[in-house]
């Protein structure tokens, strides 16, 4: 067998080739147009290839060539602010080369070969370097210093190191054994990048979303899943996380979803400022868009392309968050390819290796000590789109077995426009305990108790609601009516958060704490007043209660809250006086 073979059979994105020497995951160029594909099966002298582009018109007998490379991404300065398709072709370049519609047979480098970057070495001649070490820096965007890493498989002693402006494929460092390093390296996407060791996450990812930070936090380096039926808020939540999370780098993968949603991000992110740095969000973001109508094999690859880029920034010592919207579409792409291969189907037609692929993917999250000795993390947040909103289906179930945080979206809440529609009774976070000390130190020693009290109240509410369903709320004792009212305040005044409100879209930890504390303290005072004989009708009519409803929208929150707390004191004092 040789380096050139030919097409034997074509069925959609799956092409069978003969007469070509291949290894699993080799990238091959298929047909007269050289369409990019990847070997995903070998049997006798035939190899099965998934093709990343449309195959209409391609015929048996056309030539196939093996590049001998695995599907890889280019890693180096210029990743940030990019938008790629599933196989790291920059969409702006594709538009330039083939117009507004995605045609095929066009290749494009992941990193620009023209752009020059100012390289500042941090090592010198004679230094010994190992895989993963930092040899210099480049200012990639105003706030992000790109650390140039030695590829993990290379080590040696430096014989020459340069300084100044270079393109990503120009040599900046030579080793004594003659190896040459550039600012760019390639890495096969299906293989995790090595780290020195894995560590236990202990810092929360602060998202500015009250129900997430407050009730169900995810740790930096942790994993979370957000399953929900269509229209329940997966995408908006993922986009909120991409906007407001306090990580240094964000990788956002639009996997098999809508084109307009990606266009939205592209228009919005350059305009929105990162609350921490004041710089446009786009400057810390890498977008991957392989929408539902783009080739399905490239959709399968998009998730790996994304996580490999995330690992690369993690290796520089950054906290990275990665959102994949939606992992179900990725799994369906696997199913589509698998069924064309006529593999033995597992549950609901998904391939038997589904669970393994999912856990391999989430396993690439984590807080680590990188080869360079720096600490970095990847937080992975996957949206899941269960058919019919039924969480018992295989993707949701397999995902829940792996991830540590479950944000359960609820269509009922979405229908009444309670956003984010995350069900507070079904969701959970396995990190709350581990993060406790962080809150004590950085928010308040009261935070953990406050949150637990609020959760307990919500739990109590749901029990009382069952009784209300039978007898109506007027039949409840007054103190329970009051409990219901305070629970409603927690839901509406605290948990509800409007992503489209200019102030409320992002809520700092400090504000979250004060808001929840004020609501809970209103509740305590109200119960005291009731015990002291105040009529419940009077308590329910207090102005301070209504004022708490809208204080989250105030630009000058502290001031507004101060006024309300004062009113609250006065009102309750008056009730006592009566």
């Amino acid at each position: 067998m040789k380096n050139k073979g030919e097409i034997y059979r074509i069925s959609g994105p799956v092409v069978i080739i003969t007469g070509l020497n291949t290894k699993m995951y080799d990238v091959v160029k298929v047909g007269n147009e050289g369409l990019m594909g990847e070997v995903i099966g070998i049997e006798g002298d035939k190899s099965t290839v998934q093709v990343y582009e449309e195959t209409s018109g391609v015929r048996p007998g056309e030539p196939v060539e093996n590049t001998g490379m695995s599907l890889s991404v280019e890693l180096g300065p210029g990743l940030l602010e990019s938008i790629y398709d599933g196989i790291q072709r920059p969409l702006p370049v594709l538009k330039e080369k083939m117009g507004d519609f995605i045609k095929r047979g066009v290749s494009a480098n992941g990193l620009s070969r023209e752009k020059e970057w100012d390289f500042v070495p941090t090592v010198k001649k004679g230094d010994k370097i190992n895989g993963g070490d930092i040899i210099g820096t480049v200012r990639e965007t105003l706030n992000i210093e790109h650390r140039i890493l030695v590829p993990p498989t290379i080590s040696g002693t430096i014989s020459e190191i340069k300084k100044g402006k270079f393109k990503v494929d120009q040599v900046i460092c030579t080793l004594e054994d003659g190896k040459e390093l550039t600012m760019m390296q390639k890495w096969p996407v299906r293989k995790p990048r090595p780290v020195s060791k894995k560590m236990t996450p202990g810092t929360p990812l602060i998202t500015g979303q009250r129900i997430l930070d407050g009730l169900f936090p995810v740790a930096k380096g942790g994993t979370a899943a957000i399953p929900g039926p269509f229209g329940s808020g997966k995408t908006v939540t993922q986009q909120q996380l991409a906007k407001w999370s306090d990580t240094e780098i964000v990788v956002y993968i639009g996997c098999g979803e809508r084109g307009n949603e990606m266009a939205d991000v592209l228009y919005e992110f350059p305009e929105i400022k990162d609350p921490k740095t004041g710089r446009p969000l786009m400057e810390r973001t890498v977008l991957i868009a392989n929408t539902s109508n783009m080739p399905v094999a490239a959709r399968e690859a998009s998730v790996y392309t994304g996580i490999t880029i995330a690992e690369y920034y993690r290796d520089m010592g950054y906290d990275v968050s990665l959102m994949a919207d939606s992992t179900s579409r990725w799994a369906e792409a696997m199913r589509e390819i698998s069924s064309r291969l006529e593999e033995m189907p597992g549950e609901e037609g998904y391939p038997a290796y589904l669970a393994a692929r999912l856990s391999e993917f989430y396993e690439r999250a984590g807080k680590v000590k990188a080869l360079s000795g720096k600490e970095g993390s990847i937080t992975v947040i996957g949206a899941v789109s269960p058919p019919g909103g039924d969480f018992s289906e295989p993707i949701t179930q397999n995902t829940l077995r792996i991830v540590k945080v479950f944000w359960a979206l609820d269509a009922k809440l979405a229908q009444r426009r309670h956003f984010p529609s995350i069900n507070w009774l079904n969701s959970y976070s396995l990190y709350t305990k581990a993060l406790g000390p962080w809150y004590d130190e950085h928010v308040s020693p009261d935070w953990v108790k406050l949150r637990n009290d609020a959760m307990e109240l919500l739990q109590k509410e749901s029990e009382l609601q069952e009784i209300v369903q039978l007898v109506g709320s007027d039949a409840l004792p007054e103190d329970q009516q009051l409990t219901l009212e305070v629970a409603r305040m927690i839901r509406e005044y605290f948990l509800q958060q409007n992503a489209y409100h200019e102030v409320d879209t992002f809520c700092p930890m400090d504000k979250q704490f004060k808001l929840l504390k004020s609501i809970m303290s209103w509740g305590d005072k109200a119960h005291n007043a009731l015990d002291g004989g105040a009529p419940i009708e009077d308590i329910m009519k207090l102005k301070s209660k209504d004022d708490l409803a809208k204080v989250k929208y105030e630009k000058e929150f502290d001031k507004a809250l101060g006024v309300i707390l004062k009113t609250m004191e006065d009102e309750f004092a008056k009730l006592r006086g009566k």
């Binding site: 995605i102 369906e332 039978l470």
Partner: protein, 464 residues
């Protein structure tokens, strides 16, 4: 290239298997010549050195192994020109109106390439449909794909036609060009659409593709692609704003299922192919606005939910792709309310970009959110009342219960020819909200309450 093969080895359902061919391209268009002199068309689904699988659009009825098969060497194309406007074509694109063949300016691939997401312009131009439940609560914008989820016997056709008649972008009086594709609907239903198009003069700026219930099911797989190709051509080459109505998506999906079964594929949920999501996306995602091009493609398709079940794979997968859905309710229909739109499960995902101070009015979002919350609460209370009786409700709850009734009666209900502008819709909303205690309007900023709440507006007038 156009060699004729007489090597059909097998015929099975809508598929034929052809042997000993020269290399044939995937997805290539195929002509099949029957002994009686007629020709059928098909498309290559699987091709190899040994065997080629072809799906036959007009069905395999009348075919035998003596038929001649010609591979055309190209994929299916639609001849296009501006003269498409005013024409009625079959589901396979042949003239049905007795008019001449289209003299093509171009011939376009019907599969249509994906719009590069980087070339898209996020849709944001508010389309006033004149229907309150849509404009006020689930706003449609130009370039959106927003289907109607309906059920058999419900007035989705009336609603689609009302929208086709009334839809205008604000501040413009220019109507939309309409591309209408029937897939497996009855002749009677199709006539209903055609009569309305003719009555209102809409036909002149419409292109109609008809695949009716008694036309071959396989043909349904190309009908919507022809329609969308025509729509894209008019939008992107002739700067027109096009409204595409595909009906009924459910019939399309049934044809897809039938094809999957014929190919002995492993079926997915409820027998529909595992790739149905991707396939539907290749239709729905052809809506949009492209940077630097003047026209747009808006989709307002009709989908009847089998058994009124929104979790059925057809509405479910659609809802995952489209930018919202307008859900028609049998319950409201029974109550005699037109248009019987149930706003609670309805959604327009692009609403937020289409409304607000510069597009509709600053209080739009707040009014809509508040109406949603109040209506949802009122509807829940109906359930409670059924158990414990109205007297067990608190005064507050009674107000919400009444709100739900008034909302259905005054906001949802309107005439088939009643074209409400957005101000009218919003003021009806405010009138209803004014019946609730003001402290309950927690979704509305105080400044809007001061400005738009009827109680305050009245005071302000007195003050002046």
């Amino acid at each position: 290239m156009t060699k004729e093969y007489k090597t059909i080895s097998q015929i099975s359902g809508p598929l034929i298997f052809v042997e000993k061919t020269e290399p044939v391209g995937y997805n290539e268009l195929v002509n099949i010549n029957l002994p009686d002199g007629t020709t059928k068309r098909g498309q290559v689904l699987d091709t190899s050195d040994d065997i080629v699988v072809v799906q036959v659009f007009e069905g395999t009825g009348g075919l035998n192994r003596d038929c001649g098969v010609r591979f055309t060497g190209e994929t299916i194309k639609l001849p296009v020109s501006k003269d498409l406007l005013g024409r009625i074509l079959s589901g396979a694109g042949e003239p049905l109106d007795g008019g001449p063949r289209i003299v093509p300016e171009d011939r376009l691939e019907i599969t249509g390439a994906a719009i590069n997401p980087y070339a898209r312009l996020p849709p944001k131009d508010f389309i006033q449909t004149g229907i309150s439940t849509i404009d006020g609560m689930n706003t449609l914008v130009r370039g959106q794909k927003l289907p109607i989820f309906s059920g058999s016997g419900l007035p989705h056709n009336e609603i689609a036609l009302q929208i086709a008649r009334q839809a205008r972008v604000r501040g413009s009086n220019e109507p939309f060009a309409v591309v209408f594709a029937a897939m497996g609907i009855t002749n009677e239903e199709a006539q209903y659409f055609m009569a309305d198009f003719e009555r209102t003069g809409a036909l002149e700026r419409a292109v109609v593709f008809l695949n009716l219930a008694d036309d071959p099911a396989v043909e349904r797989l190309i009908t919507p692609r022809l329609a969308l190709t025509a729509a894209e051509y008019l939008a992107y080459e002739h700067d027109m704003h096009v409204l595409v109505i595909l009906t009924d998506i459910t019939n399309y999906c049934e044809a897809l299922r039938q094809m999957g079964a014929a190919r002995e594929e492993v079926p997915g949920r409820r027998g529909y192919p595992g790739y149905m999501y991707t396939d539907l996306a290749s239709l729905y995602e052809r809506a949009g606005v492209v940077k630097g091009r003047k026209g747009s493609v808006t989709q307002f398709s009709i989908l009847s939910m089998p058994g009124d079940d929104i979790t059925h794979p057809i509405p479910d997968l659609s809802g995952y792709i489209t930018e919202g859905q307008i859900v028609i309710s049998r319950e409201l229909h029974r109550k005699g309310i037109y248009p019987p739109v149930n706003v609670l499960p309805s959604l327009s995902r692009l609403m937020n970009s289409g409304i607000g101070a510069t597009r509709t009015r600053e209080d739009h979002k707040a009014v809509s959110d508040q109406c949603y919350a109040a209506y949802a609460e009122g509807k829940d209370l109906r359930g409670l009342v059924a158990i414990v009786g109205k007297d067990a409700l608190s005064d507050r709850d009674k107000k919400f219960l009444e709100f739900a009734d008034m909302f259905e009666d005054r906001f949802v209900r309107q005439g088939v020819d009643e074209n409400r502008d957005i101000e009218t819709t919003l003021s009806i909303g405010w009138e209803l909200l004014a019946e609730l205690p003001e402290a309950q309007l927690t979704r509305i900023d105080n400044k809007y309450i001061q400005k738009y709440h009827p109680a305050h507006k009245a005071k302000e007038k007195e003050g002046k």
